[in-house]
Symmetry: C3
Subunit: 306 residues, 3 copies
């Protein structure tokens, strides 16, 4: 039985790690340090268990790994591994100041980003039978952006402690920019899909919360860059642009909140779609609260500065 | 008969208020104060008459109100109410310095923006039978952006007189950014539609002038922000970004002018599509002149500063 | 026979001029001055020969000229004439400091830009039978952006020597911005096409390298603006935005490099598509090397400044 769990493991399971980590970090900043520490250790256990299962799956169920990669619904799930790794890295820095382990996770996340990003885009380009837009795209595609920005966030957070700190900031900014342009590409397709192809209530699943989450983490990555850039280096010249551009994504993110709340209510209250117990539902619940929270923190932080 | 006029009132009729208001304001700046005042009072009469009809329609013809909202061609028309309200508010500030009434209109426009924007996007997402892109989208969708930027413009114009002026600027900037990102989303779809789906001459109606108008009002909203931000507040940090980003939309807007003139000539001269007498035609005529005018004013203003 | 060559001349032949010119300029900066001069003179010969053929084609084969313009595959080829002209202009400035001839080429490129850009967009809008996205779009559409940015580059390079230098910078910046927004529009469509429509190996031709090239020349145009703006003029206010925005396109461009290398290998090694001898193949080969080179030079330049 254990074997079949590994074989059918949904690649998006690392979204549980993402969600738990985001809550652990938020709790830490809110000074709920007990809860934060429990979630922090729990999440490292989740991460290691899922990692072990993923490695076992790669060794023993290579075909299932490839089949998932070829699937437009399951394929983007692999990006949750990158984001989960980077978020555990962030926990280690923020909660434990464990820079050494955080750096290892940064390298793991970076290697996974290169491998997964290019495998995914090569596969969807050369695949022979492709679904139409309405069957192919969903909010889960935005995890591509979330993972890119999560790598950027961890990299810029670690930059001040790196021997090549300025170069780290440079690379972190390039990741931020790649995430930013992909947000526009993918969101254009999602808006096209939502507006011009019929959407069944059960298709409006948790992944669409990532509409908001993707812009929220872009905001976070931009804020971290602004905080970690040394203004006396040439990178300092980019701060005015980063402030405006980050605000642009913050606004785009905030716009979605009421729409998602209304569509979520419609789905559960009027269409009686049950709240499923799945990895996604956890992202849903915590995403629903942590994204606006992150955004509000951004605004509060902003006005504090005054 | 009056009743059937109310029942079938096209929601886009407020475009007449938009057009008249834009001309009234332009005439005021050009020192044609007599003409400006006539248009100003005339427009308030238009606005109040249309508002009365809209309210009557909501009370007595709720089904027609909903049917229009569900229609991809007529639905975006509701956004002209938001933009019309904000433009009358601008008239009141610029021509009469009547800040109290302008603030009331700002609150009306804001409430309408929230209600109409989210109703529209909820409806087009959950609707069961959706048209294909070529039947569904047209230039009128860009009124979504125009209305967002019109609210931003009125809000930043009123900000220096508000008790929470800096917060008003903050919200006005968020509206500007939301309008800016939606311009990219919707324009990508419009370019896809124009380039890859056949377009009959009578489909190339007045709404396509809004291609230009939407970027022009984004330019205007950006310029107003730049002028109304107090550079000694934290918002002052956003000025360099706003200058560049606003110039980006000014360029995008200007690019469309020759294309629209050529396509308009083709439509009227070669394909003999008559110039219809409709609310749209007024937007066409005044849009055709006021958008380039607004853009040119931006450039002149810019070089004056030197 | 000469006649039939002229009649069937592919409008994209000027890509040979683009490619040779880019290599000539790169060789000059790398201090391979002998090779650079040979390529420089060779390229002017290519340019004049192709120009003569184009003029002959316009006079004697007007129908073929129009037929190409109406074709979604061949039509965008005309934009290579604009880019080729601007690149020869750049050669003249950089290698010979021949400002007078460079200015003539700038005016030729500008006139061609107006004529070709608006003809192309009018034609694809009013055309009755349009192909679907997968048959209609390909990387060649990005030459629209390349040509716009090539004009911007030549214009800002010549600006310091113009009587209306500041106005030249202003127009060059508007071209840069138009190219920048069109990059987003067209790239959204290309990503949609690559991800959701099946792609045969022979369709993944050289034009897709322009994915990278278009962002690379946007980077170049932005860098030239930054270098040529006089910071004591009002245009100086735009430098912070230009730095960030140019970095945005540099990042977008760099992201494509590994993807293009993998897809190119797949095409040639696994699918055995032969490397054809065509004007495109030259852009392929040189584009493959000169775009990353230009990008790397940008980064090196950047860190030098420190």
């Amino acid at each position: 039985m254990k074997n079949s769990v590994v074989q059918s493991l949904h690649p998006a399971y690392f979204s549980m790690v993402m969600a738990t980590g985001i809550v652990a970090i938020a709790a830490w900043f809110l000074e709920f340090k007990g809860i934060s520490l429990i979630l922090h250790y729990l999440n490292m256990a989740f991460y290691l268990a899922l990692l072990a299962m993923l490695v076992a799956r790669i060794f023993f169920h290579g075909k299932a790994i490839i089949a998932d990669l070829l699937d437009y619904q399951r394929g983007p799930g692999y990006f949750t591994f990158i984001a989960g790794t980077a978020i555990v890295g962030n926990q280690l820095v923020i909660i434990e100041n464990a820079l050494f382990y955080a750096k290892i996770l940064l390298w793991v996340a970076l290697a996974a980003w290169v491998l997964i990003t290019y495998s995914f885009f090569v596969v969807i380009t050369i695949k022979e039978n492709k679904p139409t837009l309405d069957k192919g795209i969903n909010g889960a595609w935005l995890v591509i952006i979330v993972s890119t920005q999560a790598v950027s966030t961890l990299m810029s957070t670690l930059a001040p402690d790196q021997p090549f700190g300025e170069f780290s900031i440079f690379v972190a900014m390039a990741f931020y920019m790649v995430g930013a342009i992909m947000y526009i590409y993918i969101m254009s397709l999602i808006i096209y899909r939502l507006s011009f192809f019929s959407l069944k209530p059960d298709e409006l699943g948790a992944p669409y919360w990532i509409n908001m989450g993707a812009a929220a983490i872009t905001t976070l990555a931009g804020s971290r860059l602004i905080l970690n850039i040394d203004i006396d280096t040439p990178m300092g010249d980019f701060i005015p642009f980063l402030k405006g551009f980050t605000f642009f994504y913050w606004s785009a993110s905030t716009w979605w909140i009421p729409l998602m709340l209304i569509l979520g209510s419609w789905r559960h209250l009027f269409k009686k779609v049950p709240l499923p117990i799945s990895p996604q539902v956890i992202t849903w619940d915590t995403g629903a609260w942590s994204s606006p929270w992150e955004c509000t923190r951004f605004v509060l932080f902003y006005f504090q500065k005054h």
